[in-house]
């Protein structure tokens, strides 16, 4: 191989998966060897970075909380991300409507429903399972970051016109599955 190795080929070389041509090239190319060594060194540094471990008792609590959220979700079947709910509730207040969510908790969690029309990868409600590229595109840009007004969903929603607000309220009503707004 007369050319330098690509990044993927260098990763293969470090993992011992390079083909013969790549191996022969690295054996005579200081530049590729340096890049591979640098990659390997940083990999080691990254890998030895641990995170704080919760106490052993924590996991029991964790499972109870998951249980609770599944049960609670039985009466609030919304596809909205949980962290958006306070923002949207704020919006509802701003447009002078009240969200009524006072149904009693169910005795048991809902049974999951199969939907054969969706691909296996549609793990999430469709609006959320948009893939990495779209999520990146939706992330606030550097310009947005500079603008305080669009930093959180509430601010974006609060900046809507009356017509836009009415449309969002209608969507919320649908999302909340008929409970009145």
């Amino acid at each position: 191989m007369s050319r330098h190795l690509s990044e993927a080929e260098l990763v293969d070389w470090v993992e011992g998966l390079a083909d013969r041509g790549a191996r022969e090239h690295v054996s005579t190319c200081g530049a590729c060897r340096d890049r591979a060594d640098a990659y390997r060194g940083t990999l080691g540094l990254a890998a030895e970075t641990d995170i704080p471990e919760p106490s052993p008792d924590y996991w029991e609590t964790f499972r109870r909380q998951v249980d609770h959220r599944i049960a609670r979700d039985a009466v609030r079947p919304t596809s909205l991300p949980r962290w958006l709910v306070p923002s949207l509730a704020g919006l509802a207040a701003a447009v002078g409507v009240a969200v009524l969510l006072r149904a009693p908790l169910p005795a048991s969690a809902p049974r999951p429903v199969a939907d054969a029309s969706l691909p296996a990868w549609s793990a999430l409600p469709e609006p959320e399972d948009v893939g990495l590229d779209l999520i990146q595109a939706l992330a606030p840009s550097a310009e947005d970051a500079a603008s305080e007004s669009c930093r959180v969903a509430y601010d974006c929603l609060a900046a809507l016109s009356d017509d836009e607000t009415a449309a969002v309220a209608e969507t919320l009503e649908r999302d909340l599955d008929g409970r009145s707004l």
Binding site: V11, V26, Y39, E48, D50, W59, R63, V66, L124, P125
Partner: protein, 204 residues
């Protein structure tokens, strides 16, 4: 010469299960998923117990704090429960679950804050510490902060490959990309991480 150089990835962070398609672990997962799909709620508890630590750790790598990691991990399991009826077993359950967790974390980050998509300046130099344990803790903290500053795809690739110890193929499945792209992203992630924590690397 030989090119057989082992990857210096610490296995202490690795998931302990065998994710192979015919492994006992995957067979247990398949049985549990089938039971969930029949409405047997307790079967999901078993899945939560099996994967809670891995999902929590994945989320922690994204947000670097216990409170949000715990909330996001629970959110991921809730979404998995709601969607398990349409899990067809085309991938390992763990792969599917990780994809949900990654999406949950990305949504959270997109909604919460305008995280840097470009590399910022190098992190401030760490204060020198005599004690090895403290120095290691400080180094870990700085690497975690640097990881949080990586471009989104590089960070996702790195977390899944290095910290969740998944194969290139599994990472590609979760991120909806190719194995070649995973490897290239991993290489670039390490190059950018090196820039951000270069002084730490030299000090160690």
């Amino acid at each position: 010469m030989t090119a057989a150089v082992s990857i210096p990835v610490l296995l202490s962070n690795a998931v302990s299960r065998d994710a192979g398609a015919s492994s006992p672990a995957s067979a247990r997962d398949r049985d549990a998923v089938a039971a969930c799909q029949r409405g047997e709620r307790e079967a999901f508890d078993a899945l939560v117990e099996r994967y809670q630590r891995d999902v929590y750790r994945l989320c922690f790598r994204y947000v670097n704090n216990h409170h949000d990691a715990s909330d996001l991990a629970q959110e991921a399991f809730l979404k998995a429960y709601k969607a398990i009826g349409r899990f067809r077993g085309d991938s390992a359950f763990s792969t599917w679950l990780y994809r949900i967790a990654v999406n949950t974390c990305l949504n959270f980050r997109a909604a919460r804050k305008p995280d840097a998509q470009e590399l910022p300046d190098e992190l401030p130099a760490a204060a020198p510490r005599a004690d090895d344990a403290l120095a290691r803790a400080e180094r870990s903290r700085r690497v975690r902060e640097a990881v949080a500053r990586l471009p989104e795809k590089q960070r996702a690739t790195m977390i899944l490959k290095i910290y969740q110890d998944l194969s290139h193929e599994e990472v590609a499945q979760i991120l909806g990309t190719t194995v070649g792209t995973v490897k290239a992203n991993l290489f670039h992630a390490m190059a950018n991480l090196r820039k951000l924590v270069g002084s730490v690397e030299e000090a160690s």
